[in-house]
């Protein structure tokens, strides 16, 4: 897993609530047996019309917006447990998703793939959306070590929460398998005590 400490970059405002994992990666693209290449079909049915032409109204297709930070509406990642959603987003080039609320399974999947979910207050989310829409080149700084997110040209620095263990994993690029394997003896001992 890639390490993550801080990131200063432009962001894309996806001002839609309840973005579910079927939108992030539709089920018909889940037939691959590896993790790569899902970015091509990220938000497929929003990026393209049914006839295959580009949907110019969709924010990812608007040339003024670019960057590895996706700023999305409330309850991002609800629905299916498919980790393909996290793979699609990282493969597309995103490193951070900002929202006022994340669905549980998506959040875990993102963290397991070096994609940082940053949960902010609805007020700050609104401020962020407004700032990016008003001036798309606005830079956003996400500092995982300090657990803060800030908007260029604003003194307002917003703190965010993250599980301490997951933070360490992200900063060092560790994953849970390494940790669990180191606990093999404890697990085997526990198995003998099971009812």
């Amino acid at each position: 897993m890639e390490k993550f400490k801080t990131l200063t970059a432009t962001a894309i405002p996806l001002d839609i609530e309840n973005v579910d994992t079927d939108q992030i990666i539709p089920a018909r693209f889940l037939k691959a047996t590896n993790r790569e290449g899902f970015g091509e079909n990220a938000f497929r049915d929003w990026r393209f019309q049914k006839d295959g032409t580009v949907n110019t109204e969709f924010v990812l297709n608007q040339p003024q917006y670019a960057g590895p930070i996706l700023v999305a509406g409330d309850n991002f990642g609800c629905g299916s447990s498919r980790e393909h959603a996290a793979w699609a987003l990282t493969d597309y080039g995103f490193k951070v998703i900002v929202s006022s609320f994340f669905a549980d399974i998506f959040k875990g999947n993102a963290l397991n793939n070096g994609l940082l979910p940053v949960q902010v207050t609805p007020e700050f989310l609104k401020e962020l959306m407004t700032a990016i829409k008003a001036n798309p080149p606005t830079k956003i700084t996400v500092d995982l070590v300090a657990q803060t997110i800030g908007i260029e040209g604003s003194d307002h620095v917003e703190p965010f929460e993250i599980d301490a263990y997951k933070k360490t994993c992200m900063i060092n690029g560790y994953d849970d398998i390494d940790y669990l394997l180191s606990k093999k003896d404890t697990i085997e001992h526990f198995e003998k005590t099971l009812i």
Binding site: R82, E83, A103, Y165
Partner: protein, 470 residues
């Protein structure tokens, strides 16, 4: 302070606790399928890690499988490869697989309970968010991502932070025509799609106590649609009776010993929850969804709300519905009875009971997809297939089918489908398809009438005909 059902099962499975961090939770049963497992197998192989407890893993093929001509080679190359990969991975790692055509093949959340693999007090995971289904037995069961599938392969454990507790209590008597699906759609319409996020839910009250296991599975199945990782119902005589005698259930003295333990799992009277909701069964009616998430549901007697909000309007625009209108009378061309929510024998009994002596409307394409080979066999054995055939319905072969339309069972662009599945997301049942979630009774009635009807009015005229949440 007393413990909840969830606390009791969770605490019995904690291997260790990381200081200021998550806990190591032991997993009793790991269910896998073709879509979310291949990358996990690959990861283990690349890191040269063996599968730790293959005996505790059971695999099935369901998401991608065709529901017609299952004896023939699968036409779609990618689907075929994914299924072949599953077979190869299971063989290589000594994992039991009920592949396409096997007498136990079926949707993972239908297959495991009916084989007695699912038992009270267990921890069960699967790379599928509807794993919450198994909570009907008083198990901690939840969906996981593929990285976690790999973790369980490697260690039979997961690193997790204990979720908060939520209880939804529904007391009273359900009206005629109100089924378990209506109960859960009603709950989600009231509390929304994210009020359960971060929580594990317990369903309590006499409505759930009086439900069959099939009904309880329908309810727990949709826990994830309110954001909760899982939902549980305390095991009782109904549960024990269901588990008893099933293929992989404990037998004889072992079974009695287990039952004695399972009886201790109910939430203590003095236990407290982080959040509680209470509902009255009498308030619930047959439900329908009108939008693009399962929380956008109304009672059959209600009209679409007049909410002014961009996401709400985007959803109505997708569905081509207007604020303030009723769904009654809307012509419907597609009906799907199936999915891990409603594809068990009881669902088909209800549908057959309604359909018997009637005819499917000419405009409707109606797909009936059993949840497993065993359900399919039972449909035939009980004579339900004859009823469906005579009424012009098509009984297909088991699988996830049009719930997520990974196979050929897709609803065409712009068409409405009254569906017994669990998600009405944009494009879920096919690109541009418009899903209306409902109970098997509402779905059967829609197929017969060719449009949405007020089933409660129809039932008023029928004497001695009860459709209840059994």
């Amino acid at each position: 302070m007393g413990k909840t059902l969830f606390d009791k099962v969770w605490d019995a499975h904690v291997v260790d606790t990381i200081k200021d961090g998550p806990q190591i939770l032991y997993i009793d049963k790991h269910l896998i399928h073709e879509v979310t497992s291949p990358q996990a197998f690959k990861e283990l192989e690349e890191r040269n890690i063996p599968v730790f407890r293959p005996d505790q893993i059971v695999a099935t093929a369901d998401h991608n499988t065709p529901t017609l001509n299952q004896h023939l080679p699968i036409k779609d190359e990618l689907s075929r490869k994914q299924l072949e990969q599953l077979s190869e991975n299971c063989k290589k790692n000594n994992i039991t697989l009920y592949e396409l055509g096997h007498k136990y093949n079926g949707i993972v959340h239908v297959m495991a309970p009916e084989l007695g693999i699912t038992q009270p007090g267990m921890t069960i995971v699967c790379g599928d968010s509807h794993t919450s289904t198994h909570g009907a037995f008083g198990t901690i069961a939840f969906g996981i991502g593929t990285s976690q599938v790999a973790q369980v392969f490697a260690s039979q454990c997961l690193l997790l932070t204990k979720p908060k507790s939520l209880r939804v209590t529904v007391n009273g008597k359900l009206k005629n025509g109100v089924l378990p699906k209506d109960v859960i759609l009603y709950i989600i319409s009231k509390i929304g799609t994210n009020s359960g996020t971060g929580y594990f839910c317990e369903y309590a009250g006499d409505v759930f106590e009086n439900m069959s296991m099939e009904g309880r599975m329908t309810v727990c199945n949709m826990s994830i649609e309110m954001g909760a990782r899982g939902g549980m119902i305390a095991p009782d005589e109904t549960t024990f009776e269901y588990v008893k005698g099933r293929e992989f259930a404990p037998k004889g003295d072992e079974f009695d010993k287990k039952v004695a333990y399972w009886k201790t799992l109910s939430t203590d009277a003095d236990a407290t929850f982080d959040k509680e909701y209470f509902f009255d069964a009498a308030d619930i009616e047959p439900m329908l969804t009108y939008g693009t998430n399962p929380g956008m549901g109304i009672k059959i007697s209600e009209s679409i709300p007049e909410t002014n909000d961009a996401s709400f309007e985007k959803a109505l625009d997708y569905m081509n519905f207007k604020k303030g209108e009723t769904l009654i009378g809307k012509p419907i061309n597609y009906v799907f009875i199936g999915s891990c929510t409603n594809s068990r024998i009881e669902d088909f009994r209800i549908a057959a009971d309604y359909i018997k002596g009637k005819q499917k409307a000419a405009n409707v394409t109606a797909w009936l997809v059993p949840g497993s080979k065993q359900v399919e066999a039972q449909i035939i054995e009980e004579g339900l297939k004859t009823i469906f055939d005579e009424a012009g319905f098509e009984l297909r072969q088991p699988g996830c089918s049009a719930c997520l339309a990974m196979n050929d069972d897709k609803i065409p662009q712009g068409e409405y489908c009254v569906s017994t599945s669990n998600r009405n997301f944009e494009g879920r049942q096919g690109q541009g398809a418009r899903t209306i979630l409902a109970s098997p009774l509402m779905a059967a009635a829609t197929a017969v009438e060719g449009k949405i009807i007020d089933i409660t009015k129809q039932l008023q005229h029928q004497v001695n005909h009860e459709y209840t949440a059994v």
